[in-house]
Symmetry: C2
Subunit: 110 residues, 2 copies
DNA sequence: TGACATAATCGTTATAAAGCGATAGAGGGA
DNA sequence: TCCCTCTATCGCTTTATAACGATTATGTCA
């Protein structure tokens, strides 16, 4: 694929990247599971999500790469938790992006 | 691809679908262009985005399918505009989803 | 009607993403 | 040490996405 990411503004690329991390229901559910459980062992996520262990692991990798979660090794298991600061930042970016757009487009009707 | 969308909650599927619409920098830029221009003729978008006309048309289709924009035929041209209500709804959904998660995860640190 | 402009669609190619089973590596306990 | 558990990675297949050029369809205007 000829992804012409270099032709777009940096902030648009970053926002698009984070939106992509949220663009799959399994990843959204994984985030919810991690948020709800007091502990966040990988195995529990696999139990709660209707996907194979290897697939869940891939999704976790995507979320980790996007900076939305972090995993720490806990003996034989891996404990995953959210990064509240990153989520808050993402929230603000989305809000800002959409908010600006809504303000500007208030007049435009076609 | 075996997209197991049916295995996930409806609201997660919908949010993921809309996030996917925002997951490409070209589409984000197109939204900005439409928001900024007072008129929103398709050709102007093509001029402002570093992609071929057919590619832009595809992106517009994705945005239209996601319900974020609408296009009305204006003679030989097509006038695109944002759907402020849809954008506002999306904004609130993101905000709610991320907000709930941040609240719940305040305690969880691993 | 004929020529031109605009935008959507088609056909094709290349890359990314999603999914799974199997394997590998790292710890912990018997 | 040996086995078991847990999770990441590999290899593979299937489907989706992105991109473009070429074509088609629809209007406008001379």
């Amino acid at each position: 694929m000829r992804t012409k990411a270099d032709h777009f503004a940096t902030d648009l690329n970053e926002l698009a990247t984070q939106a992509k991390a949220l663009s799959h229901p399994a990843r959204l559910q994984i985030l919810q599971v991690i948020a709800q459980k007091e502990s966040c062992i990988c195995g529990e996520i696999v139990d709660d999500v209707p996907l194979a262990q290897s697939t869940v692991s891939q999704h976790l990798k995507v979320l980790k790469k996007a900076g939305l979660i972090q995993g720490t090794i806990d003996g034989p298991s891996v404990c995953y938790c959210l990064d509240p600061a990153a989520l808050q930042l993402l929230r603000e970016r989305f809000d800002g992006f959409l908010g600006d757009m809504i303000d500007e487009s208030a007049a435009t009707t076609c």
